[in-house]
Amino acid sequence: MENRIDKRLNELKGEGKKAFTTYMTAGLPDMDTAIEIIKAQYEAGIDIIELGVPFSDPVADGPVIQDASYKAICNGVKLENVFDMVEKLRQDCEVPIVFMMYYNTILHYGLDNFAKKCQNVGVDGLIVPDLPFEEQKPLALALDACDNATYLLQLVSPVSKDRINMILENARGYVYCVSSMGVTGQDKAFYANVENYLKEVKAVSKIPIMMGFGIRTAKDVENYKDIIDGAIVGSYFIKYMESNNYDLEKIKEYVSTFKKEF
């Protein structure tokens, strides 16, 4: 089966459109509502959903996602529950799902079991921010053994420079371009020269490139629209949902507005 990420990004390419991705922590405010939120976003035109699997020590995340992760853990959200959630979602929803999670959660589950489970329930991609290229081999081999049903997505940062070629050579799905130094959710503090950096990545990449970290609205990425193939909103989206009491109509409105303006 074709990976849902590829399928969706190809469709967008054909239509000459950009991809829009949101990030949400799995299990907030609760498992069933989270599924409803994903479906609502899908109806509103979301292209890919990043689902954060909570971890006790999210070192790549700023305060918003740290808090969300902490709340989810307090609510008892475990990796197994997140798999169940995707399985349930897959009964009637084909939105591409990407897990964003820390390596220890995978390691603890067992690499082979984890890869199989992802394949079985229909997880399309993985973002593991504390697993740089050089440390990816064991996980990549496990995914490979499952016909690469799930892609290990690659991240590049503004200071990746001479590492970009190496990282992108066999990259699949899309490239996650981190737009600023540090952690998620620092409002609009893009790296100086972010434009040149994005161009550099775009020139090398054979697959679509998406920009993330510090984005709130389509306006934030307006200047880079011609370079990037998509945008990812995380911390702002989490705050937005919280402050709107997880109202599905409001969530749909945000997604469709971003999509339209983008």
Partner: protein
Amino acid sequence: MEKYYGQFGGQFVSESLMNTLGELEKAYKEAIEDESFWKDYDYYMKEYVGRENPLYFAKRLTEKYGPKIYLKREDLNHTGAHKINNVIGQILLAKRMGKTKVIAETGAGQHGVATATGAALFGMECTVYMGEEDIKRQSLNVFRMEMLGAKVVSVTTGSRTLKDATNEAIRTWAKEAEDTFYIIGSAVGPHPYPAMVKKFQSIISKEARKQILEKEGRLPDAVVACCGGGSNSIGMFAEFLNDLDVKLVGVEAAGLGIETGKHASAMAEGKPGVLHGMCSYLLQDDDGNVKIAHSISAGLDYPGVGPEHSYLKDTGRVEYVSITDKECMDALLELCKLEGIIPAIESAHALAHVFKMAKTMSKNDIIVMCLSGRGDKDVHTVAAYLNGEDMNR
């Protein structure tokens, strides 16, 4: 340079830090091959830190417990613990790399104080991340850091101890690596930190090995050191690793007892994991979340351990044991009364194990123990403990 110790070690950091680590490794390699770097290091070790410090023959302990007990007096260093050895090394490196700011994490506050001291000495801006819980436990050290001109940031996430202070330091580092050097205080973190900390702390065993040969004409039967992240212990073991007849023992904190689950012994549960840029033994729950460590000693209150220690455990070269809060407090008071030395609670863990070992050894045997720090910082904790207050959350 080798990034791994068997299956342990590595560089589990975000992509943003990979080039930073590359630059650090390069600068570190050049520095340690440069004589002038070591000349500077030696100068500060002697003139500023006050090395070499004594290998003290503890006569009254020896009389009571049997084998000859020697204490490597890291508590007599400037700032009161072994932490300064590593800070001077890393800060000289930071200067070489042209960095103007340093950041550090701290548990007991000894590494924070050492970093604040080094930063004052070399005119650098210094920020120290410290868990809110530790700030309460170690108010004296917080005040010392502030007197030395450092900014102490209270970390209020997670368990509010060393683990979370380290998370926050890593986040800041990822943001500011261009002009900021992260001085890691323990033998933990991504490569090359564990190697670097070992290198700068190995001065402990370089001296101790020479001193015991001078005093006794032979190597000791056992070398003992406490082990949280493991910086004093890796420094104490370093020069003895190839002396296979010398038994090496690392002492972790058993808190209220391993069986209670309230402890800080990463080795005891024997499950490797990834935290703070490294793969090593790690306390974790059944979903791979990091468990909160428990120890009366803020300096040992860490759920992980340096990757080389994990490797040394697996190869069997070092034996790792653990000591409870109670055992360590008894030993602490014993050292005060018998030798007139107030040790840090961390170091008292090693001492408690020395007393246990002594029972199985003969009068002619020699034990060398690292007295990693002095206990002035801990007097409030000791007082509360003696008053029967609940020290272990």
